[in-house]
């Protein structure tokens, strides 16, 4: 990993920004590299005061695995939602679930909440002020505990490993 220096407060962000710059420009010329590098250095410096919690990726490979898993789940999710929408006679049993959070960092909670929303059958609807409970709306969950467990094992645990361990 790239070490943190005063002029490089968020190395991962800088890398991402450079990548995005090149993506935007669709060019990897020396000029664009220099310009992108410059922006990748300057923008984090400018925006650093606005980062309340600075996520640090402890296990990058796990992150990659997580991303792929979520992408897969998104496709499944869409298939299932489409089925439910297109079959009006399907019997749904919607439910509001109170999901007890283990995560503590704001950033990771956000990732979890987003993941829940993008993945099958669930939308994260409300984070209580104490940050301990996430209210989730499930479109069709007969077994509430099973859904909670699935979220916990499939998403929350890996996130905790990636960011918070």
């Amino acid at each position: 990993m790239i070490p943190v220096r005063p002029w490089l407060p968020m190395p991962l962000l800088s890398v991402l920004l450079l990548a995005m710059w090149l993506m935007l420009q669709q060019s990897v010329s020396v000029g664009q590299l220099l310009l992108g590098g410059f922006l990748a250095l300057v923008i984090p410096l400018i925006t650093r005061p606005f980062w309340e919690s600075q996520p640090t990726v402890k296990r990058p490979w796990l992150l990659l695995r997580y991303v792929l898993r979520v992408l897969g789940d998104i496709i499944v999710a869409n298939y299932e939602v489409s089925k439910l929408i297109l079959n009006p006679r399907s019997r749904m049993s919607p439910v509001f679930i109170e999901y007890p959070l283990e995560l503590e960092e704001a950033f990771t909670i956000t990732i979890l909440a987003s993941t829940i929303t993008l993945t099958p059958g669930t939308v994260s609807a409300h984070l209580r002020l104490d940050r301990r409970t996430l209210v989730v709306h499930a479109l069709n969950a007969e077994d509430v505990q099973a859904t909670i467990d699935r979220i916990h094992h499939r998403y929350e645990r890996p996130l905790k490993e990636i960011f918070e361990c």
């Binding site: 935007l24 000029g31 400018i46 925006t47 005061p49 309340e52 909670i109 984070l127």
Partner: protein, 934 residues
């Protein structure tokens, strides 16, 4: 020696008393008298030559565009008046020195008096119609000031205003009349006008011009029915009245009649208008002079009567009568000034002017009584006093008049009646005040006045007597010279002898004298007769009519400008529909020659959505948030339309602006009431729908008409020159920053000013903040949702990167400083939404105003840079550099300009939103409070 001195000396001399001390009255009067004396000397210097028939004319260029030159003349008529004005003026100054009280502001008095004098001199010496008008109005003004001199008295204020209103109105009529005359003649030069009598009287505009000029003269001279202001002008200090009634103001009117006599008189119109007005005025004044109890009231009405007499003389279209009028002007000036002075002394010494309270004053003030008797005799037309001869001339000439056709015999009868009346009121005036028994109890114990106070009156009385006894010796030369000026051709030879043998006029005179005495004796019947009528005070009537006029105007204005924006908008729409819609109705064919492009489904759906959302915005306007959401759909569809029709830059800008506008309107939604009450009735809604439909129809028709016509525009130039001249491939952007960069500079200036103005508006703003939403739900306690916070901080660097991208691309691809600025600003606003103002402010230690200003400054400096190189403001320069590794770099100065745009947008947008947000952080109504209330 310049004639101008005669006018200029009193005018400029008016400043002398102002600079002198109020305490030293003598000095004050002396410095006031000095310029008058010098002016009199100047006039006398010319007098000999003028009496010999010479006419002096001097002119200075002034306003050629107005045909107004500073042209003065001194002919016989002018001389007569100049001598009267300056001579009597001088005596008035002396008199006033003793008249004014210690508490009166003497410098102001003398200044106004000299101004008045100068204005009057200007009238009589003007040799240009417009110049005459200038001075004419100046007399109205200066008399306004003099009448209102004792402004703490209501009568003075009202009298002054009435005088100004009546004479001012007359002045405006006179202006119109003189302009009309000038038009007829083709010149405003007095001599030219006076020489063009035939041309004038043959012109169809003669009658209106005559009417307008006469309106001016009659109002000024207090002719019937405009006489009512004059008695109320006596609220002025008596020296003013003496001056006003003798040599100035009212004399301006008759002067004008005499002055314009050669050009306007001689026609039947003149005869009827002037003659009959004079006659009516003479009788009216005489009758009411007899009935008044106030000493000055009698004198004022006598002035009206006497001026009626003069007007009648001037109106007879008769040369001798005209000379008689001039004679009477002279005579009246002398005895009326003297009479007013005596009245002033009586008032001054006894504290009252009520005839009923006064009698037997000759015992304490015999000299005053002498003056009164002599002046009164002149007024009554007693032989060997100055008033006798003009009256005789009137009676004689009235016999020849064919004024009323078959009823012409009425004229001499009525003229005699007029004389009779003047005899009656004069006897009443003199006898009741100075004789008729012992002195009664008076508010003040009368003393003999200071000798210098009575001296002017004595001098005038003596002059009156002198003229009366030796008319030929004293006045022939002057009257002949004056007559030469007032008549077409030369003055007929005058035989001014008192005793002309027995004749019909003498008999009429005798009837007048005896009858007058008899009327005086039996006046109680007259009083009883008059008592049958309700006394109507002209002042009250005038005030009431002005009041009612003001109330009417207030009603009109309050109805018309009822402070209703809807009403004002309605007028705007009506104007548009009238002017533009009306024009479109003329169009024979709305559709032009261009073929229509085919429709496709996406466009139909998009347009349908825009129309639907627009209608929904309007129909659902009472449900504000929904209306706003619909507006946002319109905004989105508008952007998509721009994209669809090849305007990516416009689409981007519209999108970015739309979002910021939405945020602003959301803020408004919170601080404004959440509900719109139903206020418009069905009729109003229908009206507005019809208006809106008509307006929309107009817009659509115009749009369609233009779209279907081919256009040859200058745009090819921009497309051709964008790359070679502007160094950019995005023509729109090159137009913005280069071809029409000046517009853009103005545009960012507008943005910057708006932000600064909003900052002003937010100063000490007390906001209304609802403690619950429209349905009464309390607000959520989650001020800053955690997930939003995390995302906002993630988006910020991305947005900055995108900003940089859009900014740098702008010159060659869609983008540019403005859009980049909005992207940055919106990302920062997201931070504000997520974290609140306090949190953000702690992390952004800079103020936004300097950024916005610096942005405009940078753009301006970029423009100014080209000045240094000798090019016009905002000329762009392109530089191409080669750098190792990187290659060719093209730098255009307009990039700097665009950077200015960027900074302005960021600074201004944040200044608006963040400052508004700042106001609410500390004072948020809490739910806790609500509960306590419940």
């Amino acid at each position: 020696m310049p004639l101008l001195l005669i006018v200029l000396l009193p005018l400029v001399g008016g400043l002398l008393p102002i600079m002198s001390s109020n305490e030293r009255r003598g000095a004050c009067a002396a410095v006031a008298a000095a310029p008058v004396l010098i002016a009199l000397a100047v006039a006398l210097y010319y007098a000999g030559a003028v009496l010999d028939g010479e006419v002096f004319r001097q002119a200075y260029r002034w306003i050629p565009a107005l045909d107004l030159s500073l042209a003065l003349r001194l002919d016989g008529l002018s001389l007569l008046f100049v001598l009267l004005i300056l001579g009597i003026g001088l005596l008035i100054i002396v008199y006033a020195r003793y008249y004014l009280l210690a508490s009166d502001n003497a410098p102001r008095f003398y200044a106004f008096l000299l101004l008045f004098m100068a204005a009057m001199l200007g009238i009589v010496m003007a040799d240009n119609l417009l110049l005459l008008w200038f001075f004419w109005e100046l007399t109205s003004l200066s008399s306004f000031l003099l009448i209102g001199y004792w402004y703490h008295q209501s009568e003075a204020r009202k009298g002054a205003r009435m005088a100004l209103t009546v004479t001012g109105a007359g002045g405006l009529a006179l202006l119109a009349g003189l302009l009309l005359l000038g038009r007829i003649v083709g010149s405003y030069d007095l001599q030219v006008v006076l020489d063009s009598r035939d041309m004038i009287q043959a012109d169809p505009r003669y009658l209106p011009a005559l009417l307008l000029v006469l309106l001016g003269a009659f109002t000024k001279s207090a002719q019937f029915p405009f006489q009512f202001w004059l008695p109320h002008a006596m609220a002025a200090p008596t020296p003013v009245s003496a001056f006003l009634h003798s040599a100035t103001m009212v004399k301006a009117g008759v002067f004008l009649l005499a002055r314009m006599h050669p050009a306007l008189a001689g026609s039947p119109e003149w005869l009827y208008l002037v003659g009959l007005t004079g006659l009516a005025t003479m009788l009216y004044g005489g009758y009411f002079a007899l009935l008044k109890y106030d000493l000055k009231g009698v004198l004022a009405n006598s002035t009206i009567s006497q001026l009626g007499l003069i007007t009648l003389l001037l109106g007879l279209n008769n040369q001798i009568a005209t000379v008689a009028a001039l004679f009477q002007i002279l005579s009246h000036a002398l005895f009326k000034a003297a009479l007013f002075m005596t009245a002033g002394i009586v008032d001054h010494e006894t504290g009252t002017r009520d005839i009923r309270k006064l009698q037997g004053l000759w015992r304490t003030m015999p000299l005053v009584a002498v003056v009164a008797v002599v002046a009164g005799a002149s007024l009554a037309g007693v032989p060997y006093f100055s008033g006798f001869l003009p009256k005789e001339m009137l009676l004689k000439e009235s016999l020849d008049t064919q004024l009323l056709g078959g009823l012409s015999w009425l004229i001499p009868v009525l003229a005699t009646l007029g004389s009779l009346l003047s005899v009656a009121y004069t006897i009443r005036l003199v006898n009741n005040v100075f004789f008729q028994g012992p002195m009664p109890e008076l508010p003040k114990t009368p003393h003999a006045p200071p000798r210098l106070m009575i001296a002017p009156g004595l001098l005038l009385a003596a002059l009156s007597l002198l003229i009366g006894t030796l008319p030929a010796l004293t006045t022939t030369a002057l009257l002949t010279a004056a007559g030469n000026a007032a008549l077409v051709g030369d003055t007929p030879e005058l035989h001014l002898v008192v005793w002309q043998g027995f004749s019909l006029p003498l008999l009429m005179s005798a009837i007048a004298l005896i009858g007058g005495a008899a009327l005086y004796w039996q006046r109680k019947y007259l009083f009883a007769f008059q008592r049958q009528f309700r006394a109507r005070d002209a002042r009250l009537l005038f005030e009431a009519s002005v009041q009612s006029l003001v109330h009417t105007t207030q009603r009109v204005i309050d109805t018309l400008e009822n402070g209703s924006l809807q009403r004002y908008m309605l007028w705007l729409v009506i104007t548009i529909l009238g002017l533009v819609g009306g024009t479109l109705l003329d169009a024979t064919e709305l559709r032009g020659p261009l073929p229509l492009q085919p429709l496709d489904g996406v466009v139909i759906v998009g347009a349908g959505m825009a129309i639907f959302a627009g209608l929904a915005t309007a129909i659902l306007h009472r449900r504000r948030l929904i209306s706003l959401l619909m507006l946002s759909i319109v905004g989105l569809m508008t952007s998509l339309a721009f994209a669809r029709f090849s305007a990516p830059d416009v689409a981007l800008t519209q999108l970015a602006v739309e979002v910021v506008t939405m945020i602003l309107l959301m803020l408004a939604l919170f601080f404004l009431p959440q509900r719109t009450p139903k206020e418009s009735g069905a009729a109003r809604i229908l009206r507005d729908v019809l208006l809106a439909t008509a307006f929309g129809g107009t817009v659509a028709s115009l749009n369609f008409a233009v779209l279907t016509r081919p256009l040859e525009s200058i745009s090819q130039f921009f497309i051709a020159n964008s790359v070679p001249g502007g160094g950019g491939y995005n023509v729109v952007n090159v137009i913005l920053v280069d071809f029409r960069g000046f517009d853009t500079l103005g545009e960012i200036t507008v943005l910057c000013i708006a932000a600064v103005g909003i900052y002003k508006l937010l100063n000490r703003l007390r906001l209304f903040m609802p403690s619950s939403d429209a349905e009464g739900r309390p607000w959520s306690r989650d001020r800053h949702p955690l997930i939003l916070i995390s995302v906002s901080q993630t988006i910020l660097p991305l947005a900055l990167l995108v900003s940089a991208f859009i900014f740098l691309r702008g010159h060659n691809a869609p983008g540019g400083g403005f859009i980049a600025g909005l992207v940055t600003a919106v990302a920062l606003i997201l931070l504000y939404i997520a974290h609140g103002v306090d949190w953000c402010q702690r992390r952004m230690s800079f103020q936004y105003q300097p950024i916005a200003v610096a942005g405009v400054g940078l753009a301006t400096l970029t423009g100014l840079g080209s000045l240094a190189l000798g090019y016009p403001f905002l000329t762009s320069a392109i530089g191409t550099f080669y750098l190792p590794l990187i290659g060719k770099i093209k730098l255009v100065t307009t990039t700097l300009f665009d950077l200015g745009v960027y900074l302005t947008v960021v600074g201004a947008t944040l200044m608006i939103l963040a400052n508004l947000g700042k106001l609410t952080t500390t004072h948020r109504p809490s739910k806790q409070k609500d509960k306590e209330k419940a």
